[in-house]
């Protein structure tokens, strides 16, 4: 009796593992395929098997992708713009959260609701008018054309998370600081901000993930390559090498690499951050 029970348990375990492995294969195999084809030559692609064993590993694909795809330039832009966006979102959302939560004024509820409204507005509905505004103000092809909308559209979520975390910070801490003669700015940046560390991590991760992959605004507001971001190494490359598939695979793998590598390294923190943001949201 006991034996059959145990057997059943292990059969159940096998099914559980089977499900998990199957889903993992579905999720990861396209990427393995991408990597495999990126190392082959274009002539080898028309096979009947699922994966190719390249006759000679074509590292040259990656060299072409790296050089002709302007990889470093686009990567640098992406890092710079996203880094700045994260810092600005944090700064603006912490200040606004403090003002709406702790400061005493009549419009605090109204302003908070107004800023949070941004969460409901579809980004793409602002593409047309924003294009007009930026071209009238000669801001197209500048870093501002990306930075302003990136920060503005990440702000509502940042503010939402910051206010919900900040409301858990006890007010007694501030009272003590006021007794010691701290001003408001010092209270915000030297007392509140350090306590908010975990939520700062969450907001940073959410903002970074949202904007890292963005290209619709970038392709609308930018025409010269000066400030274009990483997705453009793929978008522009495919036109240039339209018949050389293998090199296109290489440029895709290369473009995906930074985010995947960072994710695998910071896996635990990112998972925690996303989960925290999602549960609060």
């Amino acid at each position: 009796m006991e034996k059959t029970g145990k057997k059943k348990m292990s059969a159940g375990k096998v099914i559980l593992w089977g499900i998990l492995i199957f889903v993992a294969v579905v999720q990861i195999f396209p990427l393995v395929w991408l990597l495999d084809f990126s190392l082959a030559s274009s002539n080898e692609m028309f096979t009947n098997g699922l994966l190719i064993i390249p006759e000679k590993i074509q590292w040259g694909n990656y060299v072409k992708a790296f050089v002709d795809g302007n990889f470093l330039h686009y990567l640098k832009n992406s890092l710079l713009i996203n880094g700045l966006a994260v810092v600005l979102v944090l700064l603006v959302s912490i200040m606004a959260a403090f003002a709406c939560l702790r400061m005493q004024w009549k419009l605090n509820g109204f302003v908070k609701t107004l800023l949070l409204m941004g969460m409901m507005i579809p980004i793409h509905a602002t593409l047309l008018p924003n294009y007009k505004i930026y071209s009238t103000l000669h801001m197209t092809d500048t870093i501002w054309a990306l930075l302003i909308p990136y920060v503005a559209f990440s702000l509502p979520q940042g503010l939402f998370l910051m206010t919900s975390f900040m409301s858990a910070v006890p007010a007694e801490l501030e009272e003590a600081a006021v007794m010691d003669g701290c001003g408001i700015y010092r209270i915000i940046f030297q007392i509140i901000t350090p306590i908010l560390k975990p939520s700062i991590a969450t907001v940073s991760i959410m903002t970074f993930l949202n904007n890292w992959n963005e290209f619709m605004m970038a392709s609308t507001y930018l025409s010269s390559p000066k400030w274009k971001t990483l997705p453009f190494s793929v978008l522009e490359f495919t036109g240039q090498y339209s018949s050389n598939y293998a090199v296109q695979f290489a440029v895709m793998a290369l473009t995906a690499a930074p985010a995947v590598i960072i994710y695998v390294i910071l896996n635990k923190h990112i998972t925690k951050g996303v989960a925290m943001g999602a549960v609060k949201g």
Binding site: A24, Q27, P30, F46, L50, K132, Y263
Partner: protein, 295 residues
């Protein structure tokens, strides 16, 4: 202390950056959109005010309703396919403890961090009739001939598959952390009462996950409405209007068909639809809220 906390100058300095950003990047564009939606502006040259003609035309525009239907299709697809899968996998993952758990969680989430541009082009290749992965898989299983995954009938399903694949890890992770938040003593109590795994899942896990499911369903509907990037690169709304979405359609109208005024009318209606959908979903879910709060 009170005086310090109601200093108008300090308050202004704290909220001004946020308010300015909101006005400049969100509010002003919307107002401008409303204005241009009343014109016949093509994107260049001069324009005339034409009143509500753009909106009237929109109400008769077959393609616009196709776009809305496609959004509805996506939303239903997410809710009926992606989310049940995500909940089941999350529940299964919760049963494993130890190393496998974080490994699988990591693997499932990886597609999520990859740029939409890469995802869209990668799937274009996967659907490729000549050397694409999917047709090769069919060949391995002995199917002869090729399937055109991006034909008028298949394209919307192909789009759905890509989006489910790309967003699966995110949904799974949210459900997973919801399950982790359930008090383990409830499971112990159920085990003592002799409940099997299926009963525990249906009677304890699912009911307690209700708030998480509600949030996720709301997000699914909104993201189905807002869909643009993947479709724009994968099919650009085609073939014909088979995979048209509101955002891709307004973009095409403004920048390809040179009907900038009309594109703005679509933008305005698009915003209204998103606002209504959010309010509506919150309303439905709120009705059940008091019971929960009462506990």
């Amino acid at each position: 202390m009170k005086k310090m906390y109601s200093n108008k100058l300090v308050i202004t300095s704290l909220v001004l950056p946020g308010v300015l950003l909101f006005v400049f990047a969100i509010l002003a564009p919307i107002c401008l959109s409303v204005y241009y939606s009343l014109t016949d502006y093509s994107g260049m040259g001069s324009w005339n005010m034409i009143g509500l003609d753009n909106y009237k035309a929109l109400m008769r525009d077959e393609a616009f309703f196709t776009a809305l239907r496609n959004s509805l299709f996506l939303a239903i697809g997410f809710i009926c396919i992606q989310h049940p899968l995500a909940i089941i996998v999350a529940a299964v993952l919760d049963k494993l403890s130890g190393r496998g758990e974080s490994f699988f969680r990591c693997v499932y989430f990886i597609p999520n961090v990859i740029s939409v541009a890469v995802i869209a082009y990668l799937w274009k290749f996967i659907y490729n009739p000549n050397f694409g992965l999917l047709n090769n898989i069919l060949k391995v299983f002995g199917y002869k001939g090729t399937v055109n995954w991006l034909s008028a009938e298949n394209a919307i399903w192909s789009v759905l598959v890509v989006l489910i694949w790309h967003g699966f890890g995110w949904g799974m992770l949210i459900y997973y952390s919801g399950i982790k938040n359930i008090d383990p003593t409830l499971y112990e109590a159920a085990a003592i009462d002799g409940a099997n795994q299926k009963q525990t899942f249906l009677r304890i896990t699912l009911p307690l996950m209700k708030p998480v499911i509600q949030v996720n369903v709301t997000m699914a509907v909104i993201s189905a409405l807002k869909q643009m990037e993947t479709v724009y690169l994968l099919t650009n709304g085609g073939p014909g209007n088979a995979t048209q979405f509101t955002a891709t359609y307004l973009y095409q109208q403004a920048f390809k068909a040179f009907r900038y005024g009309y594109g703005n009318a679509i933008s305005v209606v698009f915003i209204i639809i998103c606002l209504l959908a959010t309010v509506f979903l919150n309303k439905i879910f709120e009705e059940r809220e008091p019971e929960r709060r009462g506990r």
